[in-house]
Subunit: 328 residues, 2 copies
């Protein structure tokens, strides 16, 4: 029996664990990502991974590798692209230094790719040939696993479904695009729509819930005010449901995976609207394609993302060294 | 050296050829698909495949298998789904009967999947890890090849990119969906938009080009009238470009393939607008993702689709018998 260390790097919290080959998270630790200052997420990762390695040794659990999921594009050499929430990781290749320090191979990938691999290996997609994870949180990430392989694409952008246009003449997105799914169905997009609505005359309900200051409206405000029956907030939530339903259909008709996992804070907020969401997806998708795809809303859980990072390490260990990400 | 027979079944014309393992189409024959009546596409396929088999024998070319591309969803058992343009094939499994008649294994798949495999094996995607073919003709088909495997999905719908919503609150589509790409960027969709515009007061240019009868407007009318400077027809063409550009971005951001091949009659009609199309794609896609994807407009050519059907047969021959489509 061997074990791996999984590390999930979030914009706020970083979690690490020692994970068995069966996907069991045995030891766990969390820390604020930027606890020692904004530029120290690399130090946080190293500290947590080292702590896990030490604790595993104490428990006599043999650790074979480290997997790290980061909220950014990661190229095949393990180099981290623009990382908005962990800016000091941008351009870094964590593997070599951390690997030397721990005496273990270190594999790095996008966090939602890792989560998707974890769900495919151990979770909602276990036994399925294909799975897509849609992570609707502050941003909108996704991971695609087909026949056990993460679809990373030519430059690591595979699975960036948060920035596919669901309305080609829609609103401008912060990514520079237009009509992206994330504009409608991510926390950031819903918050922006809420603030815009709160600044208009009709947005009195949203304004009041934010203490009269439109700038203080967040996605959580929009969901709460909509749930209380406010029509303006309700329209924003309904637009999120329609856009997300359209994306579900894009995935169902375009890839027809056996399993779609919908997770993240926005997915959790939309869970009560699941029947409406599935009805929207059905209004866009081929009936037979939708019937052959199982859609699950799975609550966010740091254990799942840690397990995903571990699944990444386990998969890379099984690859021929020359085919490994970053070749550690 | 061995050879395979490739058969491409179209709504109007069916083409067959004897193809080398290097992708060379050596002998070729075409026939109207429904030459002997609307219900006889199966007979046309059998006749052409038999003729190819006989001619190959005359030329002493040893044939190992037959690959057939059909304009429909095909499930893993080789059963053809709803085939709008070759209705008599719906529900059929061509392999067993034709295979027994020819004494050869027969493999059947969706025509654009076959074309994508052919382009990946022999054409624009040769040497690439991943390729997506977008075939914009009367309808809109697509095929996705990742790491040499066609993405067929749980029920054979993988790659149905013509019916992903590019505008979630857009126009109703004949598939029952809404805002599908095909509504905006297929011959059928452009023709429908042209007829609707020709029936309105502003559509005088389209009406005149169709001899005064709005019902006679086709996609070709729309392209011709737009090229002559008519603003109403131009707006329809521009909408097609914007929708197709958005789909290109969906593919680039969602799958980030190394190669995208755009083909079919509508793609040919849009070829003069390629700079505008790529600019629209760039306005939606991540810059680095787009930079890592090569986009080619490839003219439609029956040889390419015949070669694609042959590539399918060659790939299946290399698979373990138990993993073959339809297990012939």
């Amino acid at each position: 029996m061997r074990f791996v260390i999984g590390v999930d790097v979030g914009g706020t919290t970083t979690a690490a664990g020692v994970v068995s080959e069966g996907g069991e998270v045995l030891l766990e630790e969390q820390s604020p990502t930027h606890g020692d200052g904004p530029d120290t997420s690399g130090a946080t990762i190293a500290r947590l991974a080292t702590a896990m390695s030490r604790r595993a040794a104490e428990e006599r659990l043999p650790v074979a590798a480290v997997g790290i999921g980061v909220p950014a594009i990661v190229d095949a050499a393990g180099r981290i692209g623009e990382a908005h929430h962990v800016a000091d990781l941008t351009g870094q290749t964590l593997g070599p230094a951390l690997g030397a320090r721990l005496g273990l191979p270190v594999f790095v990938d996008n966090d939602v790719n890792a989560l998707a691999l974890g769900e495919w290996t151990f979770g909602a997609g276990k036994g399925a040939r294909s799975l897509v994870v849609l992570a609707a949180g502050t941003g909108f990430g996704a991971g695609i696993v087909l026949d056990g392989r993460v679809v990373r694409g030519a430059a690591g952008f595979g699975g960036e479904l948060g920035h596919v246009p669901v309305k080609f003449d829609g609103r401008a997105c912060w990514c520079g695009g237009r009509g992206c799914l994330a504009v409608y169905a991510s926390g950031r997009g819903i918050g922006e729509a809420g603030r815009a609505a709160a600044a208009a005359t009709a947005g009195a309900g949203l304004r009041a819930a934010a203490g009269g200051d439109p700038a203080r409206v967040t996605a959580a405000t929009v969901f709460a005010v909509a749930a209380a029956g406010d029509a303006v907030a309700g329209a924003i939530v309904d637009e999120a449901v329609r856009a997300l339903g359209a994306l579900l259909a894009t995935v169902v008709n375009g890839l027809n995976p056996e399993v779609i996992v919908l997770t993240g804070g926005v997915a959790a907020a939309l869970a009560p609207l699941e029947p409406r969401l599935l009805a929207v997806a059905a209004s866009h998708a081929f009936r037979q394609a939708l019937a052959s795809t199982r859609i699950s809303i799975v609550p966010s859980d740091k254990r799942l993302t840690v397990r995903g990072a571990a699944a990444l390490a386990l998969q890379e260990l099984r690859s021929a060294p020359a085919n490994r990400r970053g070749h550690p």
